[in-house]
Symmetry: C2
Subunit: 170 residues, 2 copies
């Protein structure tokens, strides 16, 4: 899919078709994360690809804003390097955006999970000291019976300025 099209047509999906996600596509999504920008090229991230049903179910139970992970055909858990205090959040966020964009280009939807039980997920997945869970991203083919989340954007005139703040035109 064309890049601009993927970025500007992507929708948020929380429910997915009962169809497995190919391992090759998950590998491409992880690669998109690996290619994100990071400060001083530190790459303060790790990725755990999950497809086992029991683990997905357990993850869903531990994500207070992501119960839907339990029913997703796959998920990628993004870990953040705790030793990188200044830039790790920003860098991991860029990896996540790349992953969502790549997934959409491959026909897959996802949704950020912001609130979860850090301690219990770390234990479930064997996350070592020095790393924390940054987010859990479910991936799947959109459920054809469920509409994508409506996500109205602020108008260009509300957020775009030229040369100085408040100039609405070039």
């Amino acid at each position: 899919m064309d890049t601009i099209q993927a970025i500007t047509t992507r929708k948020v999906h929380r429910t997915f078709a009962q169809k497995p996600v190919e391992a090759e596509k998950l590998a491409q999504i992880v690669d998109a994360g690996r290619h994100a920008m990071s400060a001083r090229n530190m790459q303060p991230w790790q990725f755990i690809v999950v497809r086992e049903r029991a683990t997905l179910k357990a993850l869903g139970e531990l994500c207070s804003t992501g119960r839907f992970v339990a029913d997703a055909p796959s998920a990628i858990v993004v870990l953040k390097d705790l030793s990188n205090t200044r830039w790790a959040d920003i860098d991991c966020a860029q990896a996540v955006q790349n992953m969502a964009t790549a997934a959409w280009a491959l026909g897959l939807g996802t949704c950020w999970v912001g609130n979860f039980d850090q301690e219990r997920i770390s234990k479930l997945l064997g996350v070592p000291d020095g790393w924390v869970v940054f987010t859990v991203l479910p991936f799947g083919y959109p459920d054809p019976k469920t509409a994508a989340q409506v996500r109205p954007l602020k108008k260009r005139s509300e957020v775009v300025h030229y040369e100085r703040y408040g100039n609405p035109r070039p």
Copy 2:
């Protein structure tokens, strides 16, 4: 350009060809930023598109890790909503990644500028209270005489795990 190709071939560029960047391309790059994910769809960002030579020169002087902005044909200054304390850094970072990906697909390079004089840039651009400069991104066609920055990635085996941390294979 294909999405996966854009994400995985993007390079960091700090020096640019002496060729103007089309206003239409800058509009597409801003749109890519507007379409980033954001927590609760708050969209805690604003974008100032800069093409005036004097402003670019002044910006470069105020970016301690981005002197090259002075010689870029264009830049987009990303502002962050200070009232959104939990997610604004993460959301703005996702906008930046989308902008860098879109730019690359359009033939343009960029480079994150992480350190700059917040107060003086805000004054230069008329940034209102409640907003701060998140980053300054120069955009231009890569300088054919300068190689892109080398940016070796960690190997997949260093950052990818399956089902649990430490499992190297699906």
